[in-house]
Symmetry: C2
Subunit: 116 residues, 2 copies
DNA sequence: AATTTATATCACAGTGTAGTATTTATCAGG
DNA sequence: CCTGATAAATACTACACTGTGATATAAATT
């Protein structure tokens, strides 16, 4: 596809930005679920993260083990230049397309009516 | 995938809402290109439109021939209930995830810095 | 060893896209 | 009025990339 992001990838990068230095898989998943109300399988996150890293959009480092009842170490992610660019583009594209439609969108429970 | 929309599909539905009764392939394409600055092949639009119609998200009707130097008839699209629901969801998800990040996103030319 | 936290792998369906082709209309010349 | 040229628009094809659930591993603590 090249430079652009899928919808899910967008959400992941947004979660990453939101969480800042505390961005790792499990937490991103919870963040997205909490904010969007949509359920996400664990696997989906990691697959997407790997692909994003493969494209150089994000980078990762392993965290130190924390004494919180054991468990595997966290893998923290950081947004890279190309990822930031792509995210900004997606964000702008969406904003430009949605600009001025706020009301019409929130008020679309049934079908769309062009003008009253 | 079920109910959710891809990024491109979002843009198409947003274009559709924007254009209202004047929403047909060529015009949607121009609208998206004009607003997002990103080039789109003609084929991409129609493939996506067909799939969206297949899912019942939109419906279409053929327009009458117009005397504007000939050419095939336009196919006008309309947003259906399910499509409106899906679009609203996508929109809300994105908004929720991006909420408060406006500044941080616009100001991400290079790489991300969590906090100064 | 059992339990917990977290990430990894797989495989298949769905979406994105460019490139090429086809259809349908009008226009101009004869 | 036919007929070929031209214009406008949509359709088809094929392949790469993304979305996703299911299942499996791994690494740490108790």
């Amino acid at each position: 596809m090249g430079k652009s992001l899928g919808e899910f990838e967008q959400l992941i990068l947004l979660a990453l930005v939101r969480l800042g230095k505390d961005a790792y898989g499990v937490k991103m998943r919870k963040e997205i679920e909490a904010r969007t109300g949509r359920e996400i399988s664990a696997g989906a996150i990691y697959t997407a993260l790997e692909r994003l890293e493969g494209r150089g959009f994000i980078s990762s480092r392993l965290g130190e083990p924390t004494p919180e009842r054991g468990g595997r170490r966290k893998k923290y992610y950081q947004l890279e230049t190309d990822g930031a660019t792509a995210l900004r583009r997606s964000y702008n594209a969406f904003s430009q397309m949605a600009k001025g439609l706020g009301t019409r969108l929130s008020a679309l429970p049934a079908d769309a009516e062009p003008k009253p």
